[in-house]
């Protein structure tokens, strides 16, 4: 909300400077977002008198003026305005001044061969209004030579943010009241009006919707002239960013901006029959002042007559009965609408107006009668006319809130000791009544006050938050205790492990284009937003792969040969009851070149599924998962290459991770060149360590005897998984075999069709005495027998 210093001073007697006022506004909770001083913009413009005006020798529409600037010789100025003439006073922009409307810098120039030393300005050029028919004409008594800013009374403009709990500060008078309470001056009392009612109100006014419109006060004024509003009012409205329209419209806007009190004025000639606050009928339509037609429903309160709706109550008036330059008789409306209903209606219709903002937050229920008198008085002063008696339909809320307040709470909650008499002074300055035993009666306009804590806030903000001393939180004995949960500790550890493995951590959007999300959706339906900010951010991710894949694609488009990305974040699934089921997940994405071509390694090597497996196993090991017990199984999902992907499971059901090369159709869908390898590790599937963990590690007990290696080469069916053979070999003699690993896999020459050769190195560990030849023979036989069960035969 904007208002000028001059307007504020109209209500507040103060000597404070702009910066003092701004600081105080901030201190009491009215945030100053900007201060603009029009005097800065009007620098170089001054009151001047036209001494003579002669036609330009070379241009029909230009005149050559001599202008008295109040000092030195008169200046010659070329001017195109038809109203420029000898004897008039106007505003001259001197060379060096900047024209507010377009930022043009004035300088001495020649216009069609005639020297010009400045510019006589129009209202629009100085951004004081729309008029551009001629140059500004100042009254005869305007002092020649005075800076125009001073003469015009250009006043600094505050732009403040009013928090939604303070509709009472959505008018300059309310702000003045707060400032006065905070010691910034004295609040001037409002003028009292005595309106002479000349006749009974000829219009029947009713409220048939006492819920939506508890009170509707009105009166008629006959014989008004809807000309221009007075200059001082226009100046204030302009400063507030409100364009002057006509006296009647300006006066209602003025009421709203000065007192936070929206009102409405109808052209009486356009009304017929009783004017009633009622619910709209479903499907009823109204052409509103913004020239849009709105379709209403029965939840909305409207003001209507026999012909239909004239006002979407508290939000926007209708075009049909709006006042026009020729309007002579008017009906004034001042009402109290239910804030909730205004909010719901406003949201449904998508209309945001200054009136809605105020009604929705709650106007002053105690200021209907006086508001109507003020409005009447302003109209009569500037438009003339005779006023009718007031008609009052319904009653606004009148029951004030009374709060039993303990001034000690200010210290206990607010942390500052404010003497009781100062607390009382503050509350009373804000129109609270402090009764016996601290029974505090709240002004009706303060809808935000609910209980004692709100009174503490009033006292503390006016007293000053600066006066609240910092007090250290009580501290537990000793050093700080660990605070991370096991999952947080796990995420932290994996994040650093992944980065240490050369991966770059990314943070990608939680939402995806629906199409991308669908590629990765599981059994649960996706979470799809009702009101996404764009189609690209619509469905909550069921996997972290798409986000990283898109990032890799962008990297590749930027010319990057490879992306090694990882992210730790949530996948969004659904719980049985329909609530959110969010799973902490680590995703790794490897795209493009694993190693670039090099002088020592030749061609670039691309990532393959084993790189994914390496990341999965290393990170799972870091996470404390029993990697040696994991089973490599299939069913990584349709997003992966069916022959180059796998899951890592602890038991057949518990999938800890999936990894592999992505399916070519996925790469196509994301428009990225392969190969791309992805890993997803499901952090919440990793079993926690059992029992209470101490710090002590098991004893170090290296075997006393040297281990022995034996190699076996088997011919196996081509389709046999090496892992199965390995597991069989390892399990052949658990007492003696401590490890086995594949060191060669071969197909082709020397190996029969349909077979492959798998060579395994087995580590044997003697426990108490060294192996004898017959021991080794027995173990070898067990290995060969176990392998045979998998279809393997020892190669000769």
């Amino acid at each position: 909300m904007k208002f000028s210093l001059e307007w504020l001073r109209y209500f507040l007697e103060t000597e404070a400077s702009v910066s003092e006022i701004a600081a105080k506004l901030n201190a009491i909770g009215i945030e100053v977002e900007d201060i603009e001083d029009p005097a800065d913009r009007l620098e170089g413009f001054r009151v001047a008198e036209v001494l003579s005006a002669k036609p330009h020798p070379d241009a029909d529409r230009l005149q050559v003026l001599t202008v008295n600037t109040g000092e030195g010789d008169p200046l010659q100025v070329v001017c195109g305005a038809p109203n420029a003439r000898a004897g008039m006073k106007g505003v001259l922009g001197l060379p060096g001044a900047e024209v507010p409307v377009n930022g043009m810098k004035l300088r001495k120039s020649e216009i069609r061969g005639v020297e010009s030393n400045g510019m006589m300005c129009s209202v629009r050029e100085l951004e004081l209004g729309e008029d551009h028919d001629g140059i500004i004409e100042l009254p005869e008594d305007a002092p020649v030579g005075e800076s125009f800013a001073d003469y015009h009374g250009a006043s600094p403009v505050f732009d403040v943010a009013i928090t939604p709990n303070r509709p009472d500060c959505m008018g300059v008078y309310g702000i003045a009241r707060d400032l006065a309470a905070a010691g910034m001056g004295t609040l001037k009392p409002l003028r009292e009006h005595e309106i002479e009612a000349a006749f009974p109100c000829p219009v029947e006014i009713r409220t048939d919707d006492p819920e939506g419109c508890p009170a509707f006060y009105g009166r008629v004024i006959r014989g008004v002239t809807n000309g221009e509003s007075p200059a001082w009012m226009q100046k204030r409205l302009l400063a507030a960013g409100q364009r002057p329209i006509s006296a009647l419209v300006d006066i209602t806007n003025y009421m709203m901006l000065a007192f936070g009190r929206p009102a409405h004025v109808y052209d009486l000639a356009k009304l017929s029959g009783p004017v009633v606050a009622r619910r709209a009928k479903d499907g009823e339509q109204v052409l509103a002042l913004n020239e849009k037609t709105y379709t209403l429903d029965s939840s909305m309160t409207v003001i209507a007559d026999d012909n239909g709706v004239h006002d979407i109550a508290g939000i926007m008036g209708g075009e049909d009965s709006s006042v026009q330059p020729g309007t002579t008789d008017v009906l004034l409306e001042i009402a109290y609408f239910d804030p909730e209903r205004i909010g719901v209606t406003g949201r449904k219709l998508g209309i945001a107006t200054d009136a809605r903002t105020r009604f929705e937050r709650g106007v002053d229920p105690a200021w209907l009668e006086e508001g109507l008198e003020s409005l009447t008085s302003l109209i009569q002063r500037f438009c003339g006319g005779e006023a009718s008696e007031i008609v009052r339909a319904g009653t606004p809320p009148t029951e004030p809130k009374v709060i039993a307040f303990d001034p000690g709470l200010t210290q206990r909650l607010g942390g500052v000791d404010v003497p009781e008499d100062e607390q009382k002074r503050i509350l009373e300055a804000l129109d609270f009544e402090v009764g016996a035993a601290w029974q505090v009666t709240c002004p009706l306009r303060r809808h935000d006050i609910e209980g004692p804590a709100d009174l503490v806030e009033e006292v503390v903000r006016i007293h000053g938050l600066d006066n609240v001393e910092s007090v250290a939180l009580p501290r537990a004995d000793g050093v700080a205790r660990p605070t991370a949960t096991p999952m947080q500790a796990l995420e932290r550890r994996l994040r650093r492990a992944a980065a240490a493995r050369g991966l770059n951590e990314a943070v990608t959007w939680s939402f995806l284009p629906t199409g991308q999300a669908e590629h990765f959706a599981g059994e649960d339906p996706l979470w799809v937003l009702d009101n996404p900010i764009s189609e690209d951010m619509k469905a909550m991710r069921p996997s972290l792969v798409p986000g990283l894949l898109s990032a890799a694609k962008r990297n590749s488009d930027r010319g990057a040969a490879s992306s090694r990305l990882f992210e730790i974040g949530r996948r969004y699934l659904r719980a049985r009851d329909g609530s959110s089921d969010e799973h902490s997940t680590l995703c790794v994405l490897l795209a493009g070149e694993k190693t670039p071509r090099g002088w020592n390694n030749g061609k670039a090597a691309m990532f393959d599924a084993f790189d994914g497996k390496a990341e999965a196993e290393a990170l799972l090991a870091e996470a404390g998962a029993p990697v040696d017990k994991l089973m490599v199984m299939g069913e990584a999902g349709a997003q992966f290459h069916p022959g180059q992907s796998a899951t890592l499971r602890l038991g057949p059901k518990n999938v800890l991770a999936r990894f592999g090369a992505l399916h070519p159709t996925i790469l196509d869908a994301f428009d990225i060149d392969g190969p791309v390898v992805a890993v997803e590790i499901y952090l919440d599937a990793i079993p926690a360590k059992k029992g209470k963990q101490g710090f002590e590690k098991p004893d170090f007990a290296p075997p006393a005897l040297q281990s022995v290696m034996r190699d076996f080469a088997f011919l196996v069916p081509k389709g046999l998984a090496a892992g199965d053979l390995l597991r069989a070999v390892k399990g052949a003699d658990k007492a003696n075999i401590v490890d086995a690993r594949v060191f060669d896999v071969f197909e082709g020459q020397g190996v029969p069709e349909g077979k492959k050769s798998v060579a395994i190195e087995v580590t044997l560990q003697p426990s108490e005495k060294s192996f004898k030849d017959e021991d080794l023979k027995a173990i070898s036989d067990k290995v060969v027998a176990a392998a045979a069960k998998q279809g393997a035969e020892l190669r000769g």
Binding site: A27, L413, G415, R495, A506, F511, N531, I533, R558, I568
Partner: protein, 366 residues
């Protein structure tokens, strides 16, 4: 000169002239081999009478020794030369690049969250979390924003069409404040937590993204007041920015879930077009920047969370993690945080080993 001397002279000369180990070996065989000439002389000693042997043996033994020494010495020379030659052939061009492993990085948001966790752990705050897809009861109602509350509309909320299990709407949490409610409901009081996480608002420009990160702080106890809030914010910001020169400006404000409510600005200076924290915002060339919202928890919120507001009171605050990261480490475009541009990640990211600790300083100096 005796025959022996002459023979020694000739042998040493030939040995010294030998050009390689093969030639040297041939000479060794010629002199000291089974049928070698020196070996033959040695064999004659056995047939001699003791007197004769005593007379001739020293010369013959000397000859053998001389030849053997010459052979050994020449062998060492030739071997050294050969090694030198081999090494010369093994020279590498070490100006060629060594293979470099990839260098990973930690995202600034994670780094800053770790920094905050470290600082708040020292102040006794545990870390709590909650779902990002919430229902409107936790996100709004329990935070004293009933359905018709104008503040709801100001939150630019993302909604889902799905009904919430307990009634109401499902939505993306607009702040981390629902975690306040969940924590109080689950754990009761007293409470001292921070709750970091993703939050969502329907908003987008250089400083606003539809997804961003917040940290919520909540302290509930019997005698916590505004002074404690002020101290906590000052203490945490000074620790986070590792400077005593942090000037805060507290402004009364309005949040439905706190009463009184306090907005906190921090003073900064503009240097080289960037905001540098420090100094009062009222000093010349300085300004105030809105940093966080806070206040004393509204008693209705405490009631909604199932605690007795006559027994328990406390404060809450919420601060943007991305914004803290930008201020501390000098990024100026929030949107880049979520792009996954490897160049950006490597530029603004942190080493895996830069785990924030109090003993080493939580921040990473540039």
């Amino acid at each position: 000169m005796s025959d022996h001397d002459q023979m020694a002279q000739e042998a040493t000369a030939r040995i010294a002239a030998s050009e390689d180990l093969t030639a040297l070996e041939a000479l060794r065989v010629e002199y000291l081999g089974k049928h070698g000439s020196v070996s033959a002389l040695l064999k004659t000693l056995g047939k001699m009478s003791p007197e004769e042997r005593q007379e001739k043996a020293p010369a013959i033994q000397g000859l053998r020794q001389t030849v053997a020494d010459a052979l050994a010495s020449r062998k060492a020379e030739l071997e050294a030369a050969e090694l030198e030659e081999r090494l010369a052939s093994e020279t590498l061009d070490l100006t060629l690049p060594a293979g470099a492993g990839p260098k990973g990085s930690i995202h600034p948001v994670s780094q800053v969250m770790d920094e905050l966790a470290e600082i708040f752990a020292d102040l006794g705050f545990a870390v709590a979390t909650g779902p990002e897809i919430e229902d409107d009861w936790y996100n709004f109602t329990a935070l004293n924003m009933p359905e018709s509350h104008p503040a709801r509309a100001m939150h630019d909320t993302f909604y889902f069409p799905d009904p919430a299990p307990k009634g109401g709407k499902m939505l993306l949490r607009t702040h981390t404040s629902p975690v306040q409610i969940r924590t109080m409901m689950d754990k009761g009081a007293p409470v001292r937590i921070i709750a970091p996480g993703r939050v969502y608002r329907s908003d987008s420009d250089a400083t606003h993204t539809p997804m961003f990160h917040q940290i919520e702080g909540l302290v509930i106890d019997r005698d916590i007041h505004l002074g404690h809030l002020k101290w906590t914010l000052e203490t945490f910001l000074k620790a986070f920015f590792e400077t005593e020169d942090i000037v805060l400006r507290l402004r009364p404000s309005y949040f439905p879930f706190t009463e009184p409510s306090v907005e906190v600005d921090v003073g900064f200076a503009i240097e080289n077009g960037k905001r540098i924290l420090g100094g009062s915002g009222d000093e010349p060339g300085h300004g105030w920047m809105e940093l966080l919202g806070s206040g004393m928890v509204n008693r209705r919120v405490i009631e909604f969370a199932g605690l007795d507001p006559d027994e328990w009171q406390g404060f809450a605050f919420g601060v943007g993690v991305d914004r803290l990261a930008m201020l501390k480490y000098g990024m100026d475009d929030l949107r880049a945080f979520f792009d996954g541009d490897t160049r950006w990640l490597e530029h603004y990211g942190f080493s895996a080993l830069s785990q924030p600790t109090l003993s080493a300083g939580v921040g990473e100096r540039a």
